[in-house]
C-alpha cells in the first residue's frame, strides 16, 4: 500500500533509472468499478507538466515511480469527464463518509495494485496521518492506516464535472433516509452540494429536496444547471415544486421552467401564479379523474398506475363535460364489481369543493365542516383542477403563522 500524500513530489524514473521528473498529481478514472484505477500521472518535467498514461507504470514504491518506457508524451493534460486529480481534488478536501453519515476531511489516500491495475483502495481520515504528513523525509511517506475508510463507503465530490461516479457509493447513498441526506447536503459547500444531489437517483433526490430548508434549497438550485434543477423539480410533488419556484427570482425561475417539458412547465407556471393565500396556491394538481361512464376496472387501473403518488386514495368523477360529480374512495372501488360503471357508486354526500380563489381561512372552514382528508379545487366552470390535502393546509397555515410572528423583522 502506497501513501498518495507521500508520493506527491517524489521522482519518476525511466526504465534506465534516470530521473525523468517529479510527480505532481495522480489521475483516476471513475467508472462502474468500486476501486477507481489510476489512469495517468501528471509529472513535472523540466518546467512543464506532462501527462503520462497509467499503463506505463512499471514499479510503484512509497517513494518513487518507475516507468516501463522513457518515451515522454509532451501533451498537456486536459481532464476528461469522470476523472479526478487525487491531490488537487480529493486530498485535504471534504468527503462524505456514507457509513458514518458525516462530512470528513481526507488525510491521505492509499494506492495498491488490485485486479491488474493500480487503484485507490482506501481513504484515511485520521488526525495521526495528517500529523505524519507534516514531518520531513520518509516518515511522511509511511502509511499509517488506522482509520481508513473503504473507498466504496465514501462519496468524494470533486472532479471537473463535480461528480465522482462510483457505483458502490451511489448505491450506498441510496440506502440513506432522505432526511439524513438533506442534513448531509446542508453541511456541504455549494459545489459539493450539487455534486451529491446529482449522484442520487432523481426520485430520491426530489425526496431529499423536499426535506431541505427553503433557504438551503434556493442556494442549492442556484448552484445547479437549469436542466438539473428542472429534472429535480419535475420529480417533486407539483405543489412543493411550485412553492420552491415561487421563492426564486423571476429570471432564475424562468430559466428552470423553460428547461422543463412543456406540459409540466405550463402546469407549474399556473401553480406558481396562484396566490399563496388562496386555495390555488396550496393545492396539488395531481388528481386522478375518471368519467362517470368509465368502469370500476378502469378507475382501479388508474389508481394502480399512480400508486407512488400521495393522491392515490381515490378518484374524482366528472361528467361528459368534465364537471365535478363525486369523489370515490379506493375502498369503495375495490368492493364493487369491476365491470360495473363508476356512476353506480356515486351517492351522497357529494364532495364540497372550493375554487382556486377561495381564501385559505374559508378552506379551513370547509375542512372542519366536512371532516374529510382532502378537498377538491375547481375552476370557474366547475371542472376539478386540484386537491388540497390536510397536510398541505397544515403547511400553509404554519407558514402563515410564522410570517405573522416575524412581524417587524424583515428577512427579505
Amino acid at each position: 500500500m502506497v501513501s498518495l500524500a507521500g508520493l506527491i513530489g517524489r521522482p519518476v524514473f525511466g526504465p534506465d533509472g534516470r530521473e525523468i521528473g517529479r510527480l505532481v498529481d495522480v489521475v483516476v478514472r471513475h467508472g462502474e468499478e468500486t476501486y477507481p484505477p489510476v489512469s495517468g500521472l501528471i509529472v513535472k518535467i523540466a518546467n512543464s507538466k506532462s501527462f503520462i498514461n497509467g499503463a506505463r507504470i512499471a514499479v510503484l514504491t512509497p517513494s518513487s515511480i518507475t516507468l516501463s518506457s522513457a518515451r515522454i508524451n509532451l501533451e498537456t493534460f486536459s481532464r476528461r469527464p469522470g476523472e479526478s486529480l487525487l491531490d488537487a481534488d480529493v486530498l485535504d478536501h471534504q468527503i462524505v463518509d456514507v457509513d458514518g453519515l458525516r462530512v470528513v476531511r481526507t488525510s491521505d489516500l492509499y494506492l495498491a495494485p488490485f485486479n491488474k491495475e493500480i487503484r485507490v483502495v482506501g481513504v484515511d481520515i485520521s488526525f495521526m496521518s495528517f500529523l505524519r504528513r507534516l514531518f520531513p523525509g520518509s516518515i511522511s511517506r509511511r502509511p499509517t492506516p488506522e482509520h481508513v475508510l473503504d473507498w466504496a463507503s465514501v462519496a468524494s465530490l470533486t472532479d471537473s464535472t463535480g461528480v465522482v461516479r462510483t457505483s458502490a457509493t451511489r448505491s450506498a447513498l441510496s440506502q440513506l433516509r432522505p432526511a439524513d441526506l438533506a442534513d448531509l447536503i446542508e453541511d456541504l459547500a455549494g459545489r459539493e452540494q450539487g455534486a451529491l444531489i446529482e449522484m442520487l437517483d432523481p426520485a430520491l433526490a426530489a425526496d431529499v429536496l423536499e426535506e431541505m430548508e427553503d433557504d438551503e434549497l434556493e442556494g442549492l438550485l442556484r448552484g445547479l444547471t437549469a436542466e438539473s434543477s428542472a429534472k429535480l423539480l419535475t420529480h417533486m410533488e407539483p405543489d412543493e415544486s411550485a412553492e420552491v419556484l415561487r421563492d426564486l427570482e423571476e429570471e432564475h425561475r424562468e430559466s428552470i421552467l423553460s428547461a422543463m417539458e412543456i406540459g409540466t412547465a405550463k402546469r407549474l407556471r399556473e401553480l406558481v401564479s396562484f396566490d399563496e393565500e388562496l386555495a390555488g396556491g396550496i393545492m396539488t394538481t395531481h388528481i386522478l379523474i375518471v368519467k362517470s361512464s368509465d368502469t370500476v376496472a378502469t378507475a382501479l387501473r388508474l389508481l394502480v398506475e399512480n400508486r407512488e403518488r400521495e393522491s392515490s386514495d381515490g378518484v374524482v368523477v366528472v361528467d361528459g363535460k368534465g364537471k365535478l360529480l363525486d369523489h370515490i374512495q379506493t375502498v369503495e372501488l375495490i368492493g364493487a364489481t369491476p365491470s360495473s360503471l363508476v356512476s353506480e357508486l356515486m351517492a351522497k354526500p357529494f364532495p364540497t369543493a372550493v375554487t382556486i380563489n377561495t381564501p385559505i381561512n374559508e378552506v379551513v372552514e370547509e375542512f372542519s365542516n366536512n371532516r374529510g382528508s382532502s378537498i377538491i379545487v375547481i375552476d370557474e366552470k366547475n371542472k376539478p383542477i386540484g386537491r388540497i390535502l390536510a397536510d398541505d393546509l397544515v403547511d400553509a397555515l404554519s407558514q402563515n403563522r410564522n410570517r405573522f410572528t416575524q412581524g417587524g423583522v424583515s428577512r427579505s
Binding site: Q94, F130, L134, D187, E213, Q399
Partner: protein, 416 residues
C-alpha cells in the same frame, strides 16, 4: 414543505439575534478588549491626535476583511483553517493554525492582563483574579450557560461607550483630531512603530477573522442571510473604530494634555474617564475592562478550539463529549492555562503584555490575510462571489500596509 415551522423558527431566532447582537457586533466590541483599550489609550496619551489616521486605516481594514470573512464562510461552508488546508495543503493548514493559536494565546493573555489590571485598581492580587477568571470562563463556556453570561459581559463591555460621552466632556481639539485622521504623520521611532503596529493588530485581530467565518459555518447561515450578516459586520467593525476614536481623543485631551505620556498602569488609563465620571472614573474603567475581557476571553478559546477541529476535518461542538472531541477540549484548556500561566509570572509588566500581544497579532495576521486573499480570488471555491480586480487591489493594499508595519517592527528589533 413538510417541516416548515422548525426552520422558520430557527431563522427567526437568528434574525432577531443578528439584529440585536450579531457576531459582527460581538467581534467588534471584543476588539475593544483590554488590549484594545490600552493600545488606543497609549496611542492617544503618547502622540495626542496626530496618529489617529492609524486607527482610520485599521478600522477600514477591519470592515473590509470581516466582510470578506463573512462571505467566505457563507459561500464555502468551511472555516478559514480548513480552507487553507484544502487549498494550500497540510503544511500550510498547520502553519496557519499555529499562527492563529499563537495570536490567540497572546490575546488571551492580554484579556487576563486586563482582568489583573482591573483587579489591581481595587488592590486585589492577580494571583487571585486570574485563576478565578480562568475557572469562571471555563465553567460558563463548558457547561453551556455561556449564552446568558455572554449578554452580561456584552452589557459590561458596553461601558466603553462612556468614552464617547467622556470624549465630548473633555473638550478635545476637534480640528486637530480631524487633521490627525486625514493627514498621516508619525515620528519614525521604535515606540511609535510599535504602537502603530499594535493598533493595527488589535483592531484587525486574527481571531476575529476566524471567528466570523466559523460563526457563519456553524450557524449554517446561507446566502439569504448574507445581507444581514454583512450589515452586522459593518456595524460591529465601525463600532470598534468609533469607540477606539473616542478613547484616543479622550486620552489626547486629558492624559496627553496633562503630560502623562506613558501609561504604566491601569489607574493612569482610567484617569481619561475623569471628565465624565470624576472620582468614579476608576470604577467605570474597571467594570468596562472586566466586561470586555470576559466577553473576549469566553469566545477566544472556543473559537481557537473550533479552528483546530476545522484543521483536522472534524469540527467539534460544545455538545460533544470529551472522548468524542478530545482535541477540542485540549485546545480550550491549553489556551486558557498557558495564557493564565504567563500572566502569573512574577514581576511581568501587564502593560507590556497588553501591547506586545497585539504586535504579535499584527505579525501573525500577515500569512492569514494572504491566505484569505488567495481564497477570495479562487473561482472554484467562491463561484459567483469571487473577488474582482478592484476588491483584490483593495485587499492587496491592506496586506501591503500590514507588511510595511511588520517590516518596520522587525527593522527596529534587529537594528536597535
Amino acid at each position: 414543505m413538510s417541516n416548515i415551522t422548525i426552520p422558520s423558527g430557527r431563522k427567526l431566532r437568528i434574525a432577531a439575534f443578528l439584529a440585536v447582537m450579531g457576531p459582527g457586533v460581538i467581534a467588534g466590541l471584543s476588539d475593544d478588549d483590554p488590549a484594545g483599550i490600552t493600545t488606543y489609550s497609549q496611542l492617544g496619551a503618547k502622540y495626542g491626535y496626530r496618529m489617529l489616521w492609524v486607527l482610520v486605516i485599521s478600522t477600514f481594514a477591519l470592515i473590509v476583511f470581516q466582510d470578506l470573512g463573512a462571505r467566505i464562510g457563507v459561500v464555502t461552508r468551511q472555516g478559514l483553517i480548513g480552507l487553507v488546508r484544502q487549498k494550500y495543503g497540510a503544511r500550510a493548514g498547520s502553519f496557519s493554525a499555529v499562527a492563529l493559536i499563537l495570536a490567540n494565546v497572546g490575546t488571551m493573555t492580554a484579556e487576563f492582563a486586563g482582568v489583573a489590571a482591573a483587579g489591581q485598581l481595587f488592590g486585589i492580587s492577580r494571583y487571585v483574579t486570574v485563576p478565578l477568571t480562568g475557572f469562571l470562563i471555563s465553567a460558563l463556556v463548558l457547561r453551556g450557560t455561556f449564552k446568558k453570561a455572554e449578554r452580561v459581559f456584552f452589557l459590561l463591555s458596553a461601558v466603553f461607550i462612556s468614552y464617547i460621552v467622556a470624549g465630548f466632556m473633555a473638550h478635545p481639539h476637534w480640528g486637530e483630531a480631524l487633521h490627525g485622521m486625514v493627514v498621516p504623520s508619525m515620528p519614525f521611532t521604535r515606540d511609535a512603530v510599535n504602537i502603530a503596529t499594535a493598533t493595527l493588530g488589535t483592531t484587525l485581530a486574527p481571531w476575529g477573522l476566524a471567528f466570523i467565518q466559523s460563526y457563519a459555518v456553524d450557524k449554517r447561515l446561507t446566502r439569504a442571510d448574507l445581507k444581514l450578516l454583512r450589515a452586522d459586520v459593518w456595524v460591529g467593525s465601525a463600532l470598534t473604530g468609533i469607540i477606539g476614536f473616542f478613547v484616543i481623543v479622550t486620552c489626547a485631551a486629558t492624559l496627553n494634555a496633562e503630560h502623562i505620556t506613558n501609561i504604566t498602569d491601569a489607574s493612569q488609563a482610567a484617569r481619561a474617564l475623569q471628565p465624565l465620571a470624576g472620582t468614579l472614573a476608576k470604577d467605570l474603567f474597571a467594570i468596562g475592562i472586566i466586561g470586555a475581557a470576559l466577553l473576549a476571553a469566553s469566545i477566544l478559546p472556543l473559537s481557537t478550539a473550533y479552528s483546530v477541529g476545522d484543521l483536522t476535518g472534524s469540527p467539534a461542538a460544545l455538545d460533544d463529549k470529551f472522548d468524542e472531541a478530545p482535541l477540542f477540549y485540549l485546545t480550550f484548556a491549553a489556551i486558557t492555562v498557558v495564557a493564565g500561566g504567563l500572566i502569573m509570572i512574577p514581576g511581568i509588566s501587564l502593560i507590556w503584555i497588553l501591547i506586545s500581544s497585539q504586535v504579535l497579532n499584527a505579525i501573525l495576521l500577515l500569512p492569514l490575510l494572504a491566505y484569505m486573499f488567495g481564497i477570495a480570488r479562487d473561482k472554484k471555491l467562491m463561484g459567483e462571489f469571487t473577488a474582482g480586480k478592484r476588491a483584490l487591489t483593495l485587499y492587496g493594499v491592506i496586506i501591503a500596509i500590514v507588511a510595511v508595519c511588520v517590516l518596520a517592527q522587525f527593522w527596529f528589533i534587529f537594528k536597535l
